[in-house]
Structure formats: structure tokens, C-alpha cells
Symmetry: C2
Subunit: 427 residues, 2 copies
């Protein structure tokens, strides 16, 4: 039986979960796949984790070169996180010809081409299924199951923390701050939640998924990114009233004007399958010209779901240790695809305005938008607030961001429209 | 560049769709995956299909041996359907060492072990992603993405025809016969719809998916199978009223009593993600001990979705033409897993009764069920029908099929309970 030596760098939640799955399933994987997968080296700042996970002491490596130069290590799992040490260690391992499996979306997204090239030069594999949507096989689906398709779009809820917060706000009517605090208390959000709530985590994942789907580089600089921290609870309630649910969507589309990639809070119709993706779950919809619409749904994070994806990468990579790994960035198609990017996409908007309690204000609102070429789909006047202002909710027909921005700038000409409460995209 | 010669047996809807995807994407697949995939042989009863699909005449093979013995053919796509000729042709090709890609669920389900063994003996691959859930990568997910999991259950809507009919009945309140006629008119159901509506198609798929998921033989004889042809439109309406949607589910579960595998119409709660799988779409939920719950959703049939899965198998198989294909049935784990099967599972039931318009009948119903150990969850009395009988709807708490059957047999002791309108499982 082929023996596969594995090293795990970083024994935190995910690294520890991976160790546990590998240890628990070792015999089953031998009997099913014919590989004897053994963790023979680990690294962690905290040596106590060895005892906690019952890892034999001799597996503890003192330096990355001890791992990278070990001829019995075939596959190195990087679960350190961050991008400084992680990238340094991954680079050292790839340079020594070790196949790398990682859950590190930020490192992959920021070094997509560099790391793939390094892997190829050293005949090593680079696998990162666990970087996107936990144990749900989204990368394998794009690379191994949609090869006969021209992928037209990918739209997903790819961050569990923000989806948990938005679901909480929607279910319980609480504020963003309260929902965030609850998410932090339950371990669904980090002490510094910036990367999640400002959409950066979703942006890294979108960069990886669109680069693979569209078969060309979609660097993070090309992605317009907006988080959820300014979402007000009243807009969630009003959205519901209009038949919408709010989700932080990562969207990548091929359009005649170019590639449109963005992350932002979005109102979606309740019948959209993504509207049912609640709490810490993730969901991704891919549209291909042959297969039509497919959707994958599962837990986006956590020790075991992410560990499950890492273990699946280890077994998948094992098949290719003696043949050819696949390097998407090195294909002729990838190199030839020099994309144009566009922010000039058509989309509807939800707008909440606070207006003076005067006759004819509704008319002013209509005039303001139509004079800028923005057409109103629906308009509703709500009760007066504490400051004596009326609330107007409106949704527009599809328009461009440019037209919408022009309209927002002209707002000062209409003195009875006192304040913009919210502007949220509608898909 | 590696040249891969493909033969297509059967140029019907799916075979033709496959040809079109391969022809359209040939250059893109060369540039992305480094394989030049060319269809160099085809077989079909109807030679006119060659002209319709612009296939060069010299590709037309006169006999299966001409294909099987052609040294330039590496992969044979079987899209004939049925099991007689299809199996004969596939056997001939495997015996000559050709890798086979097929969408034929009945052939695979009925010959799962035989065909895998034949493939292994001849060092040929056998791939059938297209046999289940069209272009949605359900088989790849089980085999290549959940290796570190103990799969606990698989539950799915795996037949688009019946899902279309049930969705139609639910949306429009029409009868089974009317919905079937519409499905036939639109090409969603065949002239003889038996295999779909009686659940056989779902049963074949469940046999394949559970054999792979549970890693042992689940032959179709072990699957309890019930179709949708006796579903009444009033039960769909009453189900809605109680908060349920009706779906034909294929269910495979590991239980302490054994493997529980069955296909039957089922009432599911509206919040169940499978309830949102409408029309010709399919959806499959898999629960693994590490990954938790994941769900895949997509079109279950049609020329292009199925063709997409076949093309993905061709490209996937191409990677293994010179190394080792994977034969699930030959693993030690598969051989060791001799399953016990059980029909003794716990489940709730929806029952519609027609009863005499008399005082105390509701009490009789309660007495009847409780005397058999079946506990009622909810009971509702509806208006009188044309025959002067009252309708009683009830749902039970979880009980076993044995207890329920015993209760149904004792019904004759209660003369005021005149007729059983429907008994439908609730998940």
C-alpha cells in the first residue's frame, strides 16, 4: 500500500480538526482508497497542542526546513493562517517539491499566479478546496465537473459570519452591533471582525472562484468590495415587507462590457434559492452554458467542515503525486485571457429617504430620479419618524451605478428630500 | 498534446448534446486542460443524425467491434439507453480495454459489481456521473470530496419528471393525470412514463448513490419503491395547509437497525431546503460526520446538462488513462461491507380519512390509533364531501411502518371510519 506522509503546519482549530479526521479515518481510507495516510510531522507555536491531540512527540518539527527537507513528507497542510509566515513556509515547501494543501484564502488570492508557478516549477501540487465554502466542493466542481461549460456567472454567500449576523438581524430584528456581539460570543465572529464584516474574506474567495471559473486572473484589486457594517435594522424590516431578504453576495459575471466582480449587501427575492441559505451556511450558484444553473450549499467554516475539505484534497492530491498535477494559471487559455473589468453593470436599487412632511414630496422624488434617467419600480410612503420626517421607500428598475451616483449628487437641489437613509442593491 | 479519441454510441438527445459540447469546446479544452478530444467514431440506428449533427461520414461505425477494436478510440460514450444492447456494447468495449462513460443509470444499477469488475480486469475506466442528477457533480462529490467522512445519509429529489408533475399539481391545483399530460406535451415525461412515475428511475439512482456513499453493495432489490401515480390533488392542497410540500424522495440512511433505503412520495416542511427544489430541478442532501450537511442542486436531465456531465467524465477519465482508475467495488472496505437492510424505520405519517358525520368519530379515530401504539400529533376535521362524509386530516408522531400497517388492518373494527383517502410519509 502506498504510504503518504503528511505534515501539518499550525494545530489550531482547523489544523487540529484535520489531524483528528485523518487519525480517525486512517484505516477506512486505507481500505477504501488504498493509501496509508499518516501525519508524521507537525509544527505549532504551542507545544501543548501535541498532548491535547495525542500526537507523538517525535512528530514535532523545530523548523520549516526540517519539514520541507524530510523525504518521507509528501504533502504539507498549511493551517497557520495570515499571510506572512504562512507564505514563507508554503514557499519553502513548494521549493522542496512538497505538495501543499491549504485553507488560506487570503494567501492564495494574493499570490495566485506566483504560488501556482512555484508549484509547477518544482513539480509539486497546490490544492485549496478548503479555502472556499468549507467542505462544500466548489473548487472541484469548477475544475473537475464543468470543463465542458463556458461559466457565465458565479454568485454566492461565501462568508458564514456575515450571513449569521444578517440572519440574526432578520430573524430577531436586532441591530448590527447586537448581532455582531452575539456572533462573537458564540465564536462565529472574531474579536476583530473586520475581514469578515467588511467583505474582504468574501473578496478573497471571489477572486479565487472567478479566476478558476473564468479561466484568467481576477486579482482582488479588480473587485469592488462593500461590507455589512452600515446595514440598518429598519432596512432589513422594510426589505422583508417588500419581499426581499438581505445577503452579502459575492458576484462574478461575464458581461459584454467586461468582467463584473463585486461583493456587497444585496436584497434578493425570497424565492431566490440563495435566500434560504441561513445562519452560518454558505451557498454558491454557478451558471454554465451547458449545465445551466447549479447550486452548492453547506457549512462555510468550522474545524470539521474545513478539515473535511483538507482531507479530501490530501486524498485527491495523492492520486497525482506520481503523475501531473493541474495548474490552472499555466494553461494557455488562462494566460490568453487578459480581462477587461467593468463596474458599469445594470442593477436595481432599494432607496430609503427621509423627507419633509409636505404635500407633493412624492412628486419631487419621482421628478428627481426621472430627470437623471432612473426609473422607479415601486414607491411607498411610511409613517412619520420622531424628527417629524416621513420615510419613503422606493425600488428602481435596472439602472447603472453611474446614473444612480449622478442622481445622488443632484439630491441637494431638492430641499424637501432631507436625508438618504440607505441605498442597497437589488438582484 | 495528448490526443483522446472518443466514440459515441447512440446519437439521441444526450449523445447528440455530448457531441455538440465536445465540438464547440474542443479548442478551449485543448487550451485549458491540454487534451485534444475528438469524436472519431459514432454509432446510431439512424444514419441521418450524422448530417443533422455535421458529423463526418467516415466516423460512422458499422459494428461495435469496429469501435471496440479501434486503437485510436480511448473512451467510449454509451448513450443508447435501455439495458440490452447498451450492456452488450459496454461489455465489448470494456473487454477491449476501452474506458466507458455512460449516463445509463439502469444499466449501472443492475450491473454495478459486474461492470466495475470487468473494467478492472481490463484496466479500463468506468464513469457514470451523468447517470445521477444530470450535470450536478453528485458522484464526484461522494467519491472525491467526502473521503474523510462517514456518510450518514443521502436524501434527494433525483427525478425531474416526477418533480415537475408534483410542482405543477402544487402550483396549479391540477390532478396527477392533467399534470402528467402537460409534462408529456412539453417533453418532460415519456409516452410510457412508468419508470419515472413509479419511482424506478429514482430507485436506480439511489442504488448507485448509496452504494458509493455507504461503500458497499446496495442492490435495487433492497430498495422499497413507491411512485407518485396515486397522489391526489386534495392531499397536495391539505399538505400545503399543514405547512408541507410533497416531493418524491429517494432516501438512504445508516441506522442502528441497518441500511434503510426507500423511494416514496413524502411530505416535507416548507423550510426544508429540498422543498424549494421545484420543477425539473433535482436536489440532493448528503450528511457526513465531518462536513455536516451539504446540498447540491441543478437540472436533473436534458441534453446539455447530461452532456455536460459526460464531457466532465471524459476529461476526468483522460487524467487516468495512463495511471489507475478508481474502482469502488474493488476496495477492501466495499467488499467487507455486507449490509443488513431494514424497513423498520421511524417516520411520521399524514393520513386522510373519510368518516361518518356522527358525534364522537374524532374520538374513535384517536382510540383506534392509540390502541395500536400510534400517537397523533395533529388532527383536523374538514367540511363534508358530496357523499355526506366528513374528511379528517391527521399527522402522527414518529412511528414504525409495522405499527402503522397493524393500525390500518384494524380499521375495519371502526365502522364509522368509512374510507382511507391517503397515507403519506412525513419527513
Amino acid at each position: 500500500m502506498r504510504k503518504i506522509g503528511v505534515a501539518i503546519l499550525g494545530l489550531g482549530v482547523v489544523g487540529g480538526g484535520t489531524y483528528e479526521i485523518l487519525a480517525k479515518n486512517r484505516e477506512k481510507m486505507q481500505d477504501t482508497y488504498g493509501y496509508d495516510i499518516e501525519v508524521i510531522a507537525v509544527m505549532d507555536k504551542n507545544q501543548e497542542r501535541l498532548a491535547e491531540l495525542s500526537i507523538p512527540k517525535e512528530a514535532f518539527a523545530k523548523s520549516i526546513m526540517e519539514v520541507a527537507m524530510n523525504p518521507d513528507v509528501h504533502i504539507v497542510v498549511e493551517t497557520i493562517g495570515g499571510i506572512t509566515i504562512a507564505k514563507e513556509f508554503v514557499t519553502a515547501c513548494l521549493e522542496c517539491g512538497k505538495t501543499v494543501v491549504t485553507a488560506n484564502k487570503e494567501m492564495i488570492a494574493k499570490n495566485f499566479i506566483e504560488l501556482h508557478n512555484l508549484a509547477r516549477q518544482n513539480n509539486a501540487g497546490l490544492y485549496y478546496e478548503a479555502s472556499c465554502v468549507g467542505g462544500t466542493p466548489i473548487i472541484r466542481t469548477i475544475v473537475d465537473s464543468m470543463q465542458g461549460n463556458d461559466i457565465e456567472s458565479i454568485t454566492g454567500i461565501v462568508n458564514g459570519t456575515t450571513n449569521y449576523i444578517l440572519s440574526k438581524m432578520s430573524d430577531e430584528g436586532c441591530s448590527y452591533q447586537d448581532a455582531l456581539a452575539q456572533a462573537q460570543a458564540l465564536g462565529f465572529a472574531e474579536a476583530d471582525p473586520t475581514s469578515d464584516v467588511e467583505g474582504f474574506d468574501s473578496m478573497y474567495k471571489l477572486s479565487i472562484l472567478t479566476s478558476l471559473s473564468f479561466n484568467g486572473e481576477v486579482a482582488i484589486d479588480n473587485i469592488k468590495c462593500e461590507g455589512i457594517s452600515s446595514i440598518q435594522k429598519e432596512d432589513i424590516a422594510y426589505g422583508k415587507e417588500l419581499g426581499y431578504t438581505i445577503k452579502l453576495l459575492a458576484i462574478g459575471k461575464k458581461t459584454p462590457k467586461g468582467i463584473d466582480v463585486r461583493v456587497h449587501p444585496t436584497l434578493i427575492k425570497k424565492k431566490n434559492p440563495l435566500a434560504a441559505v441561513d445562519g452560518a451556511f454558505n451557498g454558491v450558484k454557478i451558471v454554465g452554458d451547458a449545465v445551466g444553473e447549479i447550486m452548492l450549499y453547506g457549512k462555510g467554516a468550522g474545524a470539521l467542515p474545513t478539515g473535511s475539505a483538507i482531507v479530501s484534497d490530501i486524498l485527491y492530491a495523492s492520486k497525482f503525486l506520481e503523475s501531473d498535477h493541474y495548474y490552472p494559471t499555466l494553461s494557455k487559455a488562462f494566460k490568453n485571457n487578459k480581462f477587461t473589468f467593468t463596474n458599469d453593470y445594470d442593477c436595481s436599487y432599494y432607496i430609503r429617504l427621509l423627507v419633509a412632511d409636505k404635500l407633493g414630496v412624492l412628486g419631487q422624488v419621482g421628478k428627481w430620479l426621472s430627470s437623471e434617467g432612473v426609473s422607479v419600480r415601486e414607491i411607498r410612503q411610511k409613517d412619520k419618524n420622531a424628527e417629524g420626517l416621513n420615510t419613503i421607500l422606493l425600488t428602481t428598475h435596472e439602472t447603472t451605478e453611474r446614473k444612480l451616483n449622478n442622481a445622488m449628487e443632484k439630491l441637494k437641489d431638492y430641499q424637501d428630500i432631507c436625508k438618504v437613509g440607505a441605498v442597497i442593491r437589488v438582484e
